[in-house]
Every structure is written in structure tokens, then in C-alpha cells.
């Protein structure tokens, strides 16, 4: 059934990848707590997760020595890449429109300028 790929070297790479994924997930968690407003938190919630997830999944494939796992992982990564921008956009958009951000922490806000121009 499952063709075996790789040898002991793969175990080491897998361990490194899993660790990297874990560190990125930790960073996402810390960012979620530490970043000041909803929009900044979206960065923490969605971004390290992408590379983190890829690291973990690739690590799992290497550790499991199986090709069929690779197929499922490829699908999982692609769907993640396609769907996470959508949710990030919808939440970010809603967050901006409902004023769920700290204006004082925005250096520049060209969307506000644009809305002002449109309403003038």
C-alpha cells in the first residue's frame, strides 16, 4: 500500500519542521494577545499559521513515510491557501467598517481618505 520514502535523515528534517511549525504557532498566539487591535491581530491569527501549518504538515508526511499522506497534505495546504485569505478579508473588512481598530495606531489611513473623498 504505502510506499516507504526516505530514511533516518527524513526523521531529523521532520523534527526540525515540526519544531518550526510549533514556534510559528506560538508566535501567532503571542501576537494574538499582544497586538493592539482587531486588524493587527488578524495578521497574527492568519499569517504565521500558513507557514506554520505547511511546516507541520510536511513534517508529518516525512515522519509518516507515506506517499498517500502527501496527497492529502497537498490538498489540505492548497485549500488552506485558498480559503484563509477570504476569511481574513471578511473579518478585516468587518473590523474596519465597524470601527474595531485603533485609529491612533494607524500612521496613515488612505481608505478613510478615499471614503471622505467619495462622500464629499
Amino acid at each position: 500500500m504505502d510506499d516507504v520514502i526516505g530514511g533516518d535523515g527524513f526523521e531529523l528534517v521532520a523534527a526540525v519542521l515540526l519544531l518550526a511549525g510549533a514556534v510559528l504557532s506560538l508566535a501567532a498566539g503571542v501576537g494574538l494577545v499582544r497586538f493592539p487591535d482587531a486588524l493587527s491581530r488578524m495578521h497574527a491569527a492568519t499569517k504565521p499559521q500558513i507557514l506554520g501549518l505547511i511546516c507541520v504538515l510536511v513534517g508529518v508526511v516525512l515522519a509518516s513515510h507515506s506517499w498517500s499522506a502527501l496527497l492529502v497534505v497537498v490538498v489540505a495546504i492548497l485549500l488552506q491557501l485558498l480559503t484563509s485569505p477570504m476569511s481574513a478579508h471578511m473579518i478585516g473588512r468587518a473590523g474596519y467598517r465597524t470601527g474595531n481598530y485603533r485609529r491612533d495606531l494607524l500612521e496613515r489611513d488612505e481608505l478613510e481618505d478615499d471614503i471622505k473623498r467619495a462622500s464629499d
Partner: protein
Amino acid sequence: MTESAQDLPPVHGSTPVRKWGGQMIQQAPLLVVLVLLWLFLWGSFSPLDIVVGILVALLVTRVFELPPVQLSGRFNPWWLLVFLVRFAGQVVAGSVEVASKAFRFGTVVRSSVIEVGLTTTSDFVMTLTAITMSLVPGSLILEVDRSGSTLFLHVLGAVDDDAIEKARRKVLHAEVDILRAVGSRDELVEAESRLRGKVSA
């Protein structure tokens, strides 16, 4: 990553998809992707799986009909590869950057919302550019003005003109990369000259 003026890519397979196609040809890439997804999920590639996959793909596209995606008909695998490599690099660099900001205790991170006008009028290219910028850590799409081809992004940590201009150029650069891979020729030429103008200015 240098942003030197690169030569125009060679044009491969510039068949005008819409002329002789109709819906089936337009939907062909979608069908192929759906069949591949089916095969990957089953983890086997037997002829029976392929036939069933095609049937399921046809059924799904009939039941959940979507407006057809208008492709330019141009596809350049080499530039697609360049784009993917560059994109992967940005994802890694951005992840490290956002992570390091998260761990920089004692400071409150500031950001900017920037407006970037794209060259393209194609929904497909605009969507891909938006997705790309969404996936690259540090930028988040807040709003899209489809009629004006304008993206509004929240850029984490962009606190001075330099950083803002850099972020703006990154978006335009992503657009050029995508146009090189799947965009129309005219828009590519226009976007490239715009990007060069921005770089030299």
C-alpha cells in the same frame, strides 16, 4: 530581490480561449482541478477513479454554477514558477517578521492602511494579486474596489513613507509577476512600465 527591468517573457500558448470554446473550454481548467482534487482525496489514480472524478466534476459544476472566469488565454509556466518561488520567499520572510514583532515585548506595533491602484481590469488577476498579498504575512486586504481596480491593505508595522512605499511596490510587483504568468500582454506591458516608473521615482 532585485527589481531590475526584466525582458518581456516569451508568449506561450496564446490561444484566444473564448473564441472557439464556449463554456466547456472555459471551464476545462476548473474541471481538471476538480478531478485532481477527487483523485488526491481518494489517494488512487485508477481509470475508474478518473472516470468517476470527471462525472462528479461535471455534476458539481452543473449544480453549483458559477459565472465563468475570464482567462486571458495566455499561460507562461516559467513565470508561474518564478512567481511561486518569489511568493514562497516572501511568505517565509514575512512570517519571520510578523513573529518577531509579536515577540518584541514593550512596544506597541503601529500600522497603516494603504491604497494601491492596480493596472489590470481582469477579475482573475486582481483576485490572485489580492490572495497573494493576503497570504504574505504583514499585509491584509481590507477593501477591494473592483470597478477602480484598487486594493486597500492594512500593513503591519508600516510607519514611515519608506515602508509604505515599499509595501505599495510589493503589491505592484506581485501584480506584474501574475500578469507575466497568466495575464494579458497589453496589461503586462503597462504594469511593467508603471512599476519601473515607481522604482526610479
